[in-house]
Symmetry: C2
Subunit: 350 residues, 2 copies
């Protein structure tokens, strides 16, 4: 085991600070990665502050990891030293349940090993994420990253990207479909980019008229201001698919009225109780309200390949590791377009 530098929280109320962690030795199927960039996800904050239940401290967050391979285990076949790779929200799963066999490791019935805060089944202890110099991950959970993209802008694809890509694919969104993306943050901005790249007619749905120009720049064909009765009426019963990225409790009913018969609204942001839903709204046109969580490894690779072909990346604001606490404050205020990415050089050279 090697001791490396990382940034993490020692308690729910502590600021993130530099600390030393053990990185596991490279096992036969492992890939050792030197981290170049790591995206900042709101989940990092929820976890480190124990807002989703008591965390295991120290918490080293980060599950939007981009780096280069520096070593590989003896059985590794997919990667070699120097490869540009990514690691997302998971680093392991049982590989035997139906979900794993279908390539949906995020729904592993025995519980996936998440990139930080999960039990490390290989060496004990718990997993440490990407706010760190490096990481060692089983090759099955390592993604190949196209070299032609702006590397630092790829990091958020590993969580914000796949979380929006997976439902668009799962519900067979296709060219010409009218797709609504509700909420313009880290997830929403990727939803717009993907739906646009898939050839959809993309409508950004937001309460804030001020977001119209940004939405258009990201690829939205129209902006629907959800507080406008007239706008809502005009778009009633017209959408083929809604991607709902609102991260907090809200009222689904106005959005349900926008859906065509037999279509789906997929929730990818909120994981808390919602306001009362009116059953009549889904009964009267056989509508579906669904949830979707991240995405599997196979589809994450498909997404990265698609991004390479279509030159899709995230809009990011680069930060140094030392500025993480300020960045977190801004994430909480939704004050970022649209994702912070940590340049890990700042940690290594500290």
């Amino acid at each position: 085991m090697e001791t490396i530098k990382a940034y993490g929280a020692q308690s729910a109320t502590a600021d993130l600070d530099q600390l030393s962690i053990d990185r596991r030795d490279v096992l036969a199927t492992d890939v050792k990665i030197d981290i170049l960039y790591c995206g900042v996800c709101h989940s990092d904050i929820h976890t480190a502050r124990s807002e989703w239940g008591p965390a295991k401290y120290p918490v080293v967050p980060g599950h939007e990891i981009i780096g280069r391979v520096t070593a590989t285990g003896e059985s590794v076949t997919k990667f070699k030293e120097g490869d540009l790779v990514g690691v997302g929200c998971m680093v392991d799963s049982c590989q035997t349940c139906d979900s794993c066999k279908e390539g949906l490791e995020q729904y592993c019935e025995n519980g996936a090993t998440f990139t930080y805060g999960s039990e490390d089944k290989h060496i004990g202890g718990h997993t440490f994420g990407g706010y760190s110099e490096g990481v060692v991950v089983d090759e099955k959970f390592v993604l190949s990253v196209p070299e032609n993209l702006d590397t630092e802008k790829v990091a958020p694809l590993l969580c914000a990207g796949i979380t929006t890509w997976s439902p668009l694919r799962h519900w067979n969104v296709k060219k010409g479909d009218k797709v609504g993306v509700i909420g313009l943050g880290g997830l929403g901005h990727m939803g717009i980019k993907f739906a646009h790249a898939m050839g959809c007619h993309v409508v950004m749905i937001t309460r804030s008229p001020g977001k119209a120009d940004d939405a258009a720049a990201l690829g939205a064909d129209e902006v629907l201001i959800s507080t406008s009765e007239e706008d809502m009426q005009k778009h009633a019963n017209s959408f083929d698919f809604l991607l709902n990225t609102i991260p907090v409790r809200h009222d689904l009913n106005p959005y349900i009225t926008l859906m065509k018969r037999d279509t789906t609204m997929a929730l990818v942001g909120a994981i808390e109780p919602l306001d009362s839903m009116h059953a009549g709204l889904i009964v009267s046109k056989r509508k579906n309200i669904a949830g979707s969580m991240i995405g599997g490894i196979k589809e994450t690779q498909e997404m990265l390949d698609f991004c390479g072909e279509h030159n899709v990346v995230s809009d990011v604001e680069m930060i140094d590791m030392q500025n993480i606490n300020d960045a977190w404050d801004r994430v909480v205020k939704a004050d970022v377009k649209y994702r912070f990415v940590i340049d890990m050089k700042s940690l290594k050279e500290a």
Copy 2:
């Protein structure tokens, strides 16, 4: 126009009483039906009492109609005098929208003509339902009823039956699937019968342990008492499909925990606001909450044909027309196993 006897309400607070209504003349594509039996649906009560918005009085309810053809219009090809036929919740639709073209007239985008209380587009005025001696209906909305079934027990298939059949078919419930039917009333008892006849492993889900024997008699393989922590734990994440027939506001969350990944719970009972749903429960296993309303004419005929082959009918309690007000009181108290059916002889001979 012919004047015939019917039973109806003259206002939201009036008891049902005998009245005379006009039955439209037989148009070219119409079928004239002598009503033998009519089922009593809770919708009849909601409508007549203006609980779903102001009704057009007089209201003659009834949309579970069984009768014999006594005359046909000159263009009618599907039916002849003497045929045993049924009429359900709809008697017309635009026939031109996508929903109509797909055989889903219940979702007609220009508004289906419902069997009672809708505008009659042929002769003006509003439609009168099956609490009546007879009815005249366009042949496209008349169903052929297998002669081998107990005729009076067929009536509830036209609403309670198709309302549960349609979602079971739409979501591809198949032999061997573990299907949960939530709530044991008019809808729930048909859900059990259909799922059983389709070869599913049927679990009746109820808060009332007292319903176990009845559920087993209807074809349930197991009964899950939803107030039992142990039962709920045992069946967690195990259902391939849930048919939710609860007719009033309730909490979906306990039922969502019963669903496998990627499965659907279809709501067919409640058409009002529900308790707060926890988004995390549907996100974490990509679950779907959907609604479904009645069924189209094509699938209603398929259901009746299936019932003829598998000898599936409703469990009913026969009443005379004159006892309708008592019957309604009992429907409101859920005191019927499982559907009242009016023997229309009682009206004709009055």
